[in-house]
């Protein structure tokens, strides 16, 4: 007879006997775990729906104007600053980025679509990967490539859109994948077009919002110290500067944390009440020779068993639901994230049972003597 079976003797028989009781607590655990998985997937999905353009960029750091609060759209950099920065990193490791949030309309329709213009050097590292159609280059005129979510608006290759701010018309020549910024699809254009939609500039000099860098921490610090009027921030910090990103992820994260705390408390209270109910029984078991460790293992086994079964069921439910969700729903639960959440859930469950374990260890076998109940 191996040790595992011995632990299960009491635990499994109790499950079998008090089916309803454990089924109900299991159901609560399933619902909580389900919500944990779902909100986690939603947080991840929203995060990429919000900021996939930045997340997929092959850049490590961004240079922004000083005191721009980490926000691309508040930052303005000049050609001179680009040259200053390039003294520290190579030309290939730094590239300018223009960002402008705007509203466009499909030609011949008055329906408005929010979007974000990204002005990039098509020969630089920010050039997006194409999913369909043709790329633009630095000299094409009036041509743009757009995120494929534009297809949902009835646009296709060859369609024309009009920028509401500048009144300029563009022709779509290609579609990109996973390019969104602040929940809007990104429209990539070259700097020639960028100049044409900017308010007229007296010196006729190129201006842009940020510089993307491929650099290590040392170089980044160096640039921040030596180039005037700039902040250098890592990609993660830049994500937080996207309008709404921090707030959105923050509130979802708070929900997830609370769900974990609730799960821990539900299990803790349930097992604590059951343990208190069984004090006399544990006293008898100890009197007839059961060790504290055997009883503690029984409880731990029950907690883990309940949690694992609940997790498996809720994971199946989560993936089942996500399969029938519409594609436009931002939901992304990777197996890694799911297992991470599950691991945390188990840890939290065990933490919740510690109070009961403590009570069980403290029970004195002598309580079994001279008691009538």
């Amino acid at each position: 007879m191996n040790g595992d079976e011995r632990i299960m003797f009491l635990a499994l028989r109790e499950f079998q006997y008090a089916k309803l009781r454990y089924l109900l607590i299991g159901l609560i655990m399933v619902l909580i775990a389900w919500l944990v998985f779902f909100v986690s997937g939603l947080a991840k999905g929203l995060s990429s729906d919000n900021a996939s353009s930045i997340q997929t960029m092959k850049a490590d750091y961004f240079v922004l104007q000083k005191d721009s609060d980490h926000r691309f759209n508040r930052s303005l950099l000049s050609e001179d600053q680009l040259q200053d920065v390039r003294q520290f990193v190579g030309n290939n490791a730094s590239t300018p980025l223009g960002v402008q949030m705007t509203t466009v309309t499909k030609k011949g329709s008055s329906k408005k679509i929010d979007a974000t213009f990204f002005a990039i050097d098509m020969n630089g590292m920010l050039a997006p990967e194409l999913a369909e159609g043709n790329l633009i280059n630095n000299s094409t005129k009036n041509e743009i490539i757009v995120d494929q979510s534009f297809k949902n608006e009835g646009l296709s290759i060859g369609s024309r859109i009009k920028d509401q701010l500048s009144g300029k018309e563009f022709k779509i020549v290609g579609f990109t994948k996973n390019q969104s910024f602040s929940h809007t699809p990104v429209i990539h254009m070259n700097f020639k077009e960028w100049a044409s939609i900017q308010p007229s500039n007296a010196q006729n000099k190129l201006s842009f919002n940020a510089l993307a860098l491929k650099a290590d921490q040392g170089k980044a610090d160096n640039i921040e110290k030596n180039v005037k009027e700039v902040d250098v921030l890592a990609k993660g910090k830049a994500l937080e500067g996207i309008p709404g990103y921090k707030e959105e992820q923050g509130s979802l994260m708070m929900m997830i944390v609370f769900l974990f705390i609730i799960a821990a408390f539900v299990l803790a209270v349930f097992f604590y009440v059951i343990t208190i109910q069984k004090m006399n029984q544990f006293g008898v078991l100890k009197a007839i020779g059961a060790k504290s460790s055997q009883l503690a293992r029984t409880i731990l086994f029950q907690v883990l068993m309940l949690s694992i079964v609940s997790l498996v069921i809720s994971m199946a439910l989560t993936y089942g639901i996500s399969a029938v969700l519409p594609n436009s729903m931002p939901f992304d639960l990777s197996p890694l994230l799911a297992f991470g959440c599950s691991g945390l859930f188990l840890a939290v469950s065990v933490a919740g049972s510690l109070l009961s374990l403590y009570r069980v260890v403290k029970i004195d076998a002598i309580e079994a003597i001279g008691r009538a109940v």
């Binding site: 011995r6 028989r13 006997y17 007839i288 020779g289 060790k291 001279g370 009538a372």
Partner: protein, 231 residues
Amino acid sequence: MEYKLVLDNISKVFGDGDTSVKVLDHVSLHVKAGEFVALVGPSGSGKSTFLSIAGALLSPSSGRIILGGEEINDLSPKQMNRIRMEKIGFIFQSSNLIPYLTVRDQLLLIPELAGTLNEKAEKRADDLLKRLGLAHRKNNYPESLSGGERQRVAIARAWMNDPEIILADEPTASLDSERGRAVVQMLADEVKLRDKAAIMVTHDRRMLDLCDRVVFIEDGKLLEQTKRMSL
């Protein structure tokens, strides 16, 4: 003469200094193999403490206890646990069966906890159930048993580890006298049959004639009395 249990000059003091209470005062008792001893006394006389010390649940303040040839008065809690598991059978008030185990599993729990569950143990459980007239109840839960049946299961459970001594704490408290008598009779028969010893704490004087010896306890002192009641 072989003694199953020897309590030699046992004292038990709770608390210390001015607030100390002497619950047992130089108590000695020898129980022979095959002997069934009744322990009678008013509440607060030290019955429970006596039983707890004899049952290796509590260590005495002074004195020696020899159970089945092994001295157990100075053991660690862990060793006392082992002694209880291997050498002592307990029968508690109102049986104290585990509600979620079937009658047969109540018995198998004992070897299960000791890590000795095998076919032999299962056969032992089945034999005990048959002897105590519970074979037809072996798949029932305690809730569906009568009070007498529950105490018989408790007796069977107490024999499962083949103990040197059975300690019974008012086993008839929740039974009417007819059923109570049947249960005690069964206990007495088993003690004789197996040549083991038993001590039963009781306040029910109608059961005393089934015992070989009656010991009175009052204010922590034992007053031995040879059997004089007879029917």
